[in-house]
């Protein structure tokens, strides 16, 4: 029971720690960097492991973070060469590093607990058993301490450099002209992402790191248009995904990390469809409403055109709208309903007649075009 609580606590801390720098990755359109870094660090971990022969050495974290930053540097060099676009450059370096890491593990570390499955998905269920002991005193799981420290680091950095990060993300040229070096900020942010990925890697694996860094910020981006709220909302969505994913995994006895990543995806899908501001459904409804109201105005103009003429009886009818305007019957019904609701028209049988308000609306529509 207490171990399960630890698993939840670790997952929540990881979720917040990943979401915060993730917001800036998404806004800078380098979300894929999280993927690159979280995979490339494997090489650093393996190499340092061969040197120190201890899976719990803190040097593993240092080595991994350095490989993460090396990935960023090499990617930037490829981009600056001007020969490849950003996305290709990002996708180029990390599979190379990752594969070397995998080959080294399978060739030389067969007997150690360092296998490629654990690398991808981690094993958060075991994280609580890896304790932090000082002189025999049990201080809880190491992962919680490591990720807690990473979280504090991330929150501190983003709070201190909020203004600078915002400016260099929005307008790097102005930032540079003011003396806030976008290059320095970029590398600082990428170092933060590396450290976060390394810390989270052991507990949750690289796929969940990527899911938690990109998906909650991307979801929050669809829900708010304010940077501070986007940060808070990302953290909140991350926590919710971690908690719900955990119980989902327990219920169906599945991989915890896999379930958490799935839930982040579900949240994104929901926001994508139903966001009040930018959701697909809202956009569809708005577009449809616009079409109906525009068509209703067309209808008023048509009625005004033929009002009082000899052909009024044939022209200004519901059935003529279907023939004349090329609208489908259900659409004509919608348009007429809109007009009736506006109190711009009156319907008598098949015939349609303008009210005073309708005439006025039709005239003003004509003069405005």
């Amino acid at each position: 029971m207490i171990d399960q609580l630890f698993v939840l606590a670790i997952a929540c801390v990881v979720a917040i720690a990943c979401a915060l720098p993730g917001v800036f990755l998404v806004l800078r359109q380098v979300a894929l960097m999280s993927d690159a870094i979280s995979h490339a660090i494997l090489l650093g971990i393996v190499i340092v492991f061969f040197i120190v022969k201890d899976l719990h050495s803190p040097f593993l974290i240092v080595g991994a973070a350095l490989t993460g930053i090396l990935t960023v540097v090499l990617t930037e060099l490829v981009i600056q060469s001007g020969r490849l676009k950003k996305d290709a450059a990002i996708g180029l370096i990390f599979p190379f590093f990752f594969s070397i890491g995998v080959i080294l593990i399978t060739q030389f570390a067969g007997s150690v607990h360092l296998d490629s499955d654990a690398v991808l998905l981690g094993e958060i269920a075991f994280a609580p058993f890896n304790r932090f002991l000082i002189m025999g005193l049990d201080l809880g799981p190491i992962s919680l301490w490591v990720m807690g420290a990473v979280l504090v680091l991330n929150v501190t950095f983003i709070t201190l450099f909020y203004k600078e990060l915002k400016l260099s993300t929005f307008d790097s040229a102005l930032a540079a002209s003011m003396g806030f070096s976008p290059v320095v900020l970029h590398y600082a942010l990428m170092s933060l992402v590396s450290i976060t990925a390394v810390g989270a890697f052991d507990a949750v694996g690289s796929i969940l790191v990527v899911a938690l860094m990109i998906t909650p910020p991307a979801t929050a981006y669809l829900l708010t248009r304010q940077l501070k709220r986007m940060l808070l909302l990302s953290a909140l969505i991350g926590i919710l995904s971690a908690v719900m994913g955990f119980f989902f995994a327990v219920a169906i006895d599945a991989s915890i990390a896999g379930a958490m990543a799935t839930v982040t995806g579900v949240f994104f899908l929901l926001a994508f469809c139903f966001s009040p501001d930018q959701g697909v459904l809202q956009k569809y409804l708005r577009l449809k409403a616009q079409r109906v109201s525009f068509s209703a105005t067309m209808l008023l103009v048509q009625l005004l055109d033929h009002e009082g003429t000899d052909t009024e009886r044939e022209e200004n009818t519901v059935s003529n709208m279907i023939d004349h305007m090329g609208w489908t019957e259900p659409f004509v019904k919608q348009v007429v309903r809109h007009g009736l609701h506006q109190k711009a028209i009156i319907r008598k049988g098949d015939g349609l007649f303008l009210t005073d308000l309708g005439r006025e609306l039709a005239r003003s529509a004509m003069t405005h075009t």
């Binding site: 806004l27 203004k163 600078e164 040229a173 540079a176 003396g179 248009r225 304010q226």
Partner: protein, 248 residues
Amino acid sequence: MTPIESDSQDIAVSVKDLTMAYREKPVLWDIDMEVPRGVLMAIVGPNGAGKTTLIKAILGLLKPAAGKVEIFGKPFESQRYYVGYVPQCGSVDWDFPTNALDVVTMGRYGHLGWFKRPSKMDRDLALDALDRVGMADFADRQISQLSGGQQQRVFLARALVQDAMIYFMDEPFVGVDAVTEKTIVGILKTLRDQGKTVIVVHHDLQTLSEYFDWAFLMNVRQIALGPVSEVITQENLKAAYGGRSAIF
């Protein structure tokens, strides 16, 4: 705010032997330019002439292959607080989650320096600037919902709160409506009348003499610098545009 010793006061921007290349191709070739203080100057030339590159090189955003840039007689790095910059409107992501007031407040960041947060005073300055460009009612508006002209006004307001001595603006009239264009020109002239130096990358030769006092005509190399009437001669335009200049 008096940045400088008196003898270098008169030259706001000085560029010497500036050369830049992209791979092997020269983009700027041996540019020498001295812009006196208090002029409203256009940088004109055909597409690909290196106008934006020149501004970016002056602001230290691009590293030149050779040459020297001075602002009031000193290197740009020590003078950046006296310089305001309006990049091309299209160079930023207008879907960024923020509002107009916040973008204008960013103009204060240079004065604040690292760590320090904008205060109420900075926000008030930003509101004033929005008012000056006729955007007071749009302070809370999401920037994604602004029209091209409104975006440009927000950028101009942001430059105003930079409270600079020299302004560099990259194509502030692109994608704006006629009313906005008049507003911007009015503000540029006010800045000039206050003794500030304004340097604008400009496209439209038709409006040149109406909007600007000075012009720098270039096409990779410099062609002419001086009062608009002296710069815009048939010979100079031919040198810059080849046979492509339509207005004379």
